[in-house]
Amino acid sequence: MNDKLKAYFRTDHLPHIWCPGCGNGIVTAAIVRAIDDLGWSKDDTVFVSGIGCSSRAPGYLDFNTLHTTHGRALVFATGVKVARPDLNVIVITGDGDASAIGGNHLIHAARRNIDITTICFNNNIYGMTGGQYSPLSPTDSFASTAPYGNADRTFDLCRLVEAAGASYVARGTTYHVTPLTNMIRRGLEKKGFSFVEAMTACPVYFGRRNKLPTGVDLLNWQRDNAVPVSRAAKMEPEELAGKIVIGTFLDVEMPEYTETYERLLKEHAADRSGE
């Protein structure tokens, strides 16, 4: 293991529980590289996750780490951040964790524009529970609970989070790992709510049922179907069907929640002088 990386890992807990070819390790390493680039202190950084294969990542990282309940990572993270605005708070979540049971907390954290970076490991499936479809599984794809194909339509999660009010929104893949690392770094730097959707690979459950049975197959699939956001802008919706649009969708400066709260308290300092 790379020594630089090693400094951020709880190496005594490796190898991790993820299956051979699972993309989760690729994203986890990308996060660590981004943090290393920024020189953040491990003591001042908190990782919070929900439940799922991906949500196991913080356990391997030598930071303050909090593995919560399914879908709720962002609410715990909000408590941490509001109580200690000086800490860096990063949420690791899966596509199901973030967008199914946790969808409400995601849009509300984005709406508040609270300074938390959320990295969603999107493997298009519920991995931990054995391959049921998630809100990010493609329509018509197969899953253990979609034996006749998935009737649900798919969230464009980046678009949703943007509409909800985030400051930074991007999508990368485990194939395009350097751009992914850069997106994560930009997300971490951003004051406000940032969201990076990392397309990752679950060969065991998503892949096998959908004719992409290995990690290599899934990385090839990512490579072959990725379309940069600039190019996608010029394409018709039909051309874009089945493609993965990657790149930065939004990168703006907006008032951050904990700062607005402080500002309002200052403005109304007189009102609260009493008692």
Binding site: L14, P15, P20, G21, G25, A29, L219
Partner: protein, 73 residues
């Protein structure tokens, strides 16, 4: 780290205790430096071809690859 595959000059190192034999580093090495052993564990077959692009390291899901060079360990 239990085992170094090749001598000190080897630019790429595979940690066999971490490798889960997924084949990703092998499939995407632009120079075919890496190969699978009989257990599908990656081995550095052609170190001399390596251009230190680090793609193997960056894409290894098990933190099992280290490419030495300017940036790495």
């Amino acid at each position: 780290m239990s085992s170094k595959e090749l001598s000190a000059e080897t630019p790429v190192r595979i940690d066999r205790s971490l490798c889960k034999a997924c084949g990703i580093c092998i499939a995407f090495c632009p120079k075919q430096v890496l190969e699978a052993d009989e257990g599908a564990i990656a081995v550095v077959a052609h170190p001399e071809e390596c251009i230190r692009c680090r793609m193997c390291e960056l894409r290894c899901p098990d933190f099992a690859v280290t490419v030495r060079g300017d940036r790495g360990g």
